[in-house]
Symmetry: C2
Subunit: 254 residues, 2 copies
Amino acid sequence: MIRIVIIGSGNVAQHLISAFKKSTDIEVIQVYSRSNNLDNSIISSEKVTNDITAIKEADLYIISVTDNSIAEVSGNLPFNNKLVVHTSGTTSMDILNNKNRKGVFYPLQTFTKGKEVDFKEIPICLEAQNEEDYTFLQKVAQTISEKAIKITSEQRKAIHVSAVFVCNFVNHLYQIGNEICMQNNIPFEILHPLIEETANKIKTLSPIEAQTGPAKRNDTETINTHLNFLSNETNKEIYKLLTKSIIDTHVKKL
Amino acid sequence: MIRIVIIGSGNVAQHLISAFKKSTDIEVIQVYSRSNNLDNSIISSEKVTNDITAIKEADLYIISVTDNSIAEVSGNLPFNNKLVVHTSGTTSMDILNNKNRKGVFYPLQTFTKGKEVDFKEIPICLEAQNEEDYTFLQKVAQTISEKAIKITSEQRKAIHVSAVFVCNFVNHLYQIGNEICMQNNIPFEILHPLIEETANKIKTLSPIEAQTGPAKRNDTETINTHLNFLSNETNKEIYKLLTKSIIDTHVKKL
């Protein structure tokens, strides 16, 4: 049995705790949380501590706190030469305090409170200072996911930036679509099949091949009709900039 | 048996022909195509004409050509008082020539050449000048889709603008993610589960609730790291603008 302590209690921490719970090879023996916001359905309260000096001996410590607290929290840990990893997409492995062995355990997914995800499909990007620790992290990752991948800190940063585009920014475009629908008494659900097909398409076509729409066709009449229709200035700016970028990619390069 | 003539041979026209082929209540008796780019697997060549005066008698004429050709093509039709509809998202019903009865038959989906779609799930936005024609269009739509919906020209324009945000612009963000991955020797496939979950999430959560990421948290350190990482100026502008828009929506309004 591999014994893990989770440090932090945010979205990623909670989803990791739930995922490890299903593994017969892993036991989350303790969670350190300053805010103590974990309810009993996630982990029993006697396993949660807010006293950093009370952290137990374990095989792996997973720090899952906000990026700019990682250095401080890892510095405050009351032990040495243990394997300590963080779960951040942007943060270099080096930021972890030198007194312990370092690694990264970054699950590439969007975690929302209360929305369960299938960990099996989630790529877990791993990094470690030495081969032995890497192999160990791989073993841990494989208990919950089929996609453990070795990724350098620099590559991980690129993945995280890409993830912001294909997830956070995409969701915000859904939000703008939702807003326009609501203003015109149209149920947003009417767009669900389109959203689903758009996401599905790029599994068999490259995004370049999958592109459709007025910008791709350089259809200035439709583009101008849409710009006149939009009343929100920011949405108009977003429309203009993304249209320009599509035209630059598809029309000007041909 | 309802007899339909399709006018046009682009993506939407081809997907409609294929969908109607599966219906036992509909027969596409003819396709008018100036370019004659349809191959035999879609429709047998003897059913295709490039002579507008040779268009046959039918119960419904579906014009599926580029938006700015609709008026001209509908004006050139060699008959009167028939039901003639277009398939455009942005174009008003009124643009159709007055000599025939007018309607709209707009399937809300992204159609890509060679990529089959399940029409059953596709909302078909319908409009007609009178109740009788509307009921007829509804009957036709229901032979291929479970989601025939009455939508006014003004609402349809709003839907089309929303569709550009949630489909065309979203796909372009996938393209930027792909580009960043390629430049850093990361397989784009690593992002597929994230893309899928992002699209799935908004079926159970509103996009406002589903939002995650550095902009939502107003995490300026990560945002600046990402901006420094991006070398392409347009991508940097897109990052800035969408981040600002997320902050305005989520942080400033709280």
